[in-house]
Subunit: 188 residues, 4 copies
């Protein structure tokens, strides 16, 4: 349910009451239970759809060039993430709560698969000589994920940036950093 996701994103999963969801849907709280088994099954549905979508994006990479692959992953991620903004916020905010439950074991599995994709790309780029040889693949992934996966709410509206601007700015920063230089390599 889309409405529920918005509320979970805005107020947090625990802090959002079933009654608030029902109110937003224009029905009584008890009536929600015709559509869902429990509050947690709503969260389950939102999160599992989200991760299925994210993984599909990662698996759709169709190039062997690490730099190009990273660009594809970033653009795919960003698109997916903005489509599932609510789910992403839920995941960030209540990761400890969700990931501790057996029902949500797939969260850890999906995150692990995602990490592997990034690390593999970094390592390949280092062997190719395309990336700095002293790059710590795992550390870099962790730092990146923090940016890419940050609740994207501020990326729309508030700052007035278009999604593409944010992605371009991010890729530029990722490949080249902020230092001025002759002949930048970013942005094909």
């Amino acid at each position: 349910m889309h409405l529920a996701g918005e509320l979970f994103a805005e107020k947090g999963f625990r802090a959002t009451t079933v009654r608030e969801i029902a109110d937003a849907a224009g029905i009584l709280s008890g009536s929600l239970y015709h559509h869902f088994d429990s509050k947690e099954s709503i969260g389950d549905q939102i999160l599992s759809e989200f991760l299925t979508d994210v993984l599909a994006g990662y698996r759709g990479v169709d190039t062997d060039d690490p730099r190009a692959a990273i660009e594809q992953v970033v653009r795919a991620s960003t698109a997916t993430l903005s489509r599932h903004r609510a789910a992403l916020t839920m995941l960030q905010r209540d990761w400890n709560y969700f990931s501790a439950q057996p029902r949500f074991a797939y969260l850890r599995e999906a995150m692990h698969e995602i990490e592997q994709v990034w690390i593999t790309l970094f390592e390949r780029g280092k062997r190719d000589g395309q990336f700095r040889s002293d790059l710590d693949a795992k550390l870099t992934y962790r730092l990146l994920r923090d940016v890419l996966w940050m609740p994207t709410s501020w990326r729309q509206g508030e700052g007035g940036w278009q999604p593409d601007e944010v992605v371009d700015g991010f890729l530029r920063l990722l490949f080249d950093g902020i230092t001025a230089r002759n002949g930048s390599t970013a942005r094909n």
Copy 2:
């Protein structure tokens, strides 16, 4: 209260019950109220100490060189943030909850002051020719803050990185990106 902060960091502010805090302290829940007015006053105390400390770090910058200043700010932030991991998690997770309350108005003010410091540094670096002239100062700040302010739990232990390694990796990424190049400009 330090114990309370740890619990808030682990389970979230809302999800942590007063009884859990009291249990951790080895007293009964009712007895907590001899030490604190309310659960929110515990949160208030933790968060305000945290932000006071962060701002002190930002105000301690003692150089006019943007690049050096950014390094100082990053190192100071990282140190402060790792000292207040609990507070940081609380802020991230329940930002909407806290920032909506008049009692926590200082949160927005502090965040605004921090943003101004970064933007000023970026703009000065662009004028100096030290940073790329097409850098979007505000966007870059937002992207950076996401990394710097991410709950840092993963940065210790799990990956086995020392704090300095994380900071260095971050600065290197920030200044130079991941692309290989002759004559890196990063430190050490």
Copy 3:
């Protein structure tokens, strides 16, 4: 409805939900209301059919000899009860619930009629000298009814007894007790 009765017997009237009955019938819960006015009307139908049947058995006694009459009543009761196991369990388990409602006033009336039959037989047997003169008719009836009316689930299958074996065992116990004696007076 037979399905409903089985469920009431298995889980109790209160604990059985309308949806469970509908599920067992292969329809949706709302559709049940095309067949019945309410959950209680299902209970009403089951219980009234049961008691009608029981009373018919009691009224069918066609001998004046108390001992023979008791045998007839016991055999008739046992047969009826095993045909209405579900109803019997409902009556036992939720007697307080049903008997407090005006709709189910006939329950008390039927039970009273049954008690009168037994007491009359005992008193007649005492006058005849067939039964012990110190027999407390009412107390004996109460003790007996407890056995006869016990939910008979254990009497089938589990122990492997045939219905006749149970009845014979009961009658033998009733007439002679457990003590060994020369020349038993029990049947077969």
Copy 4:
């Protein structure tokens, strides 16, 4: 809690609400949870105390003579049962509900131990020649238990019998039946 047991006995475990218990105790429903973890833990406490007491009575038999032992068991049972009238009714009424839960596994175990005591006594009496040799020990136990364990509510007040009268009537019935005879063997 004694009050809760009375209500459970009167209305059934499921049908008794936590609020009714709290009302009876003169507190609010939420306040009950200072004393008990859950409604079921109240039931647990009541039932386990009851069965502990019953088993103690059975284990206290101090004679090898089957007839005397049965009398001891009956008298002990009756005393215990009347002390735990509420628990007994709960057990009868909601046996299916309780015994299906892992938490209440001890119920089945206790009932099994009790059954063994009776069967052993009957078998010994048959070998001694004291009881009828054609007595079905298990069937007789089941019939007896139905009487002894029937909710004893009616045994007080309504009929006006003293507990001893009921026990004596029961024992007389058990040993000798209802048939008139020269020289009864009942009642030492």
